[in-house]
Amino acid sequence: MAELTIVYFAWVREVIGRDEEQVERPAPDSSVADLIATLAARGGGYAQALEDPTRLRAAIDQRFAPLDTPIGDAREVALFPPVTGG
């Protein structure tokens, strides 16, 4: 069964302490918000970085997506703070 790649940016990356990881693929109808909750339950930096989803934004396969979007058969989910541009 294919894995899902998760990438982290900015302070989410720093607080979690890694920039990328592979996780077991969640059910296709589970959302980015569900994924965030699962990861936050690990505690430590995950809990700290992900406890308040209103501070987070996401992209699915390199496209911005609201947190309630189902992950479906995506290959990569990115979690990060709101972008701050140039």
Binding site: A10, R13, Q62, A78, G85, G86
Partner: protein, 148 residues
């Protein structure tokens, strides 16, 4: 002409503008963003981006600008990495036969680059402190304005 570059190196604004001027359009608009120097003790900005996403996203918004305005050329450059005060961060240049098209598309693209491009900025201060810059609500609103 469509030119998109996401790079660490500085860029030559004169060369970018010369390429746009050479398209024969009559009007070239540009915006250059620079690291401000005056904030208390800021010694550098560190720009992080999402490489797999940035180029494709910028390409998409440039295509949108090309569809919305009669443009002869667009050039978008965005740097990442560590940038000191006074350094250029971002450049948008547009060329058109129509002055308003060049000006409006330039504003549209820089608003997008400043609000929706997947970049994050971390401030480094002289005393060793660092701080991630928070997204500004007004930037999100500005980019939203182009959609209405």
């Amino acid at each position: 002409m469509k030119r998109i570059a996401i790079q660490t190196a500085d860029f030559d604004v004169a060369a970018e503008l010369a390429a746009l001027e050479a398209l024969g359009g009559g009007g070239v608009a540009s915006f250059t963003g620079i690291v401000r120097g005056e904030e208390g003790g800021l010694i550098a900005l560190e720009l992080e981006h999402y490489p797999a996403m940035t180029q494709a996203q910028v390409d998409r918004i440039v295509e949108e600008a090309l569809a919305r305005w009669p443009l002869l050329g667009v050039s978008v450059i965005h740097r990442f990495g560590r940038l000191e005060p006074g350094a250029r961060i971002v450049f948008v240049g547009t060329a058109s036969r129509h002055r308003a098209a060049a000006l409006e598309s330039c504003a549209f693209l820089i608003d997008w680059m400043k609000s929706d491009a997947p970049f994050w900025k971390k401030e480094h201060f002289g005393d060793g402190a660092t701080q991630w810059v928070e997204a500004r609500a007004e930037d999100e609103a500005k980019a939203q304005g182009w959609r209405s």
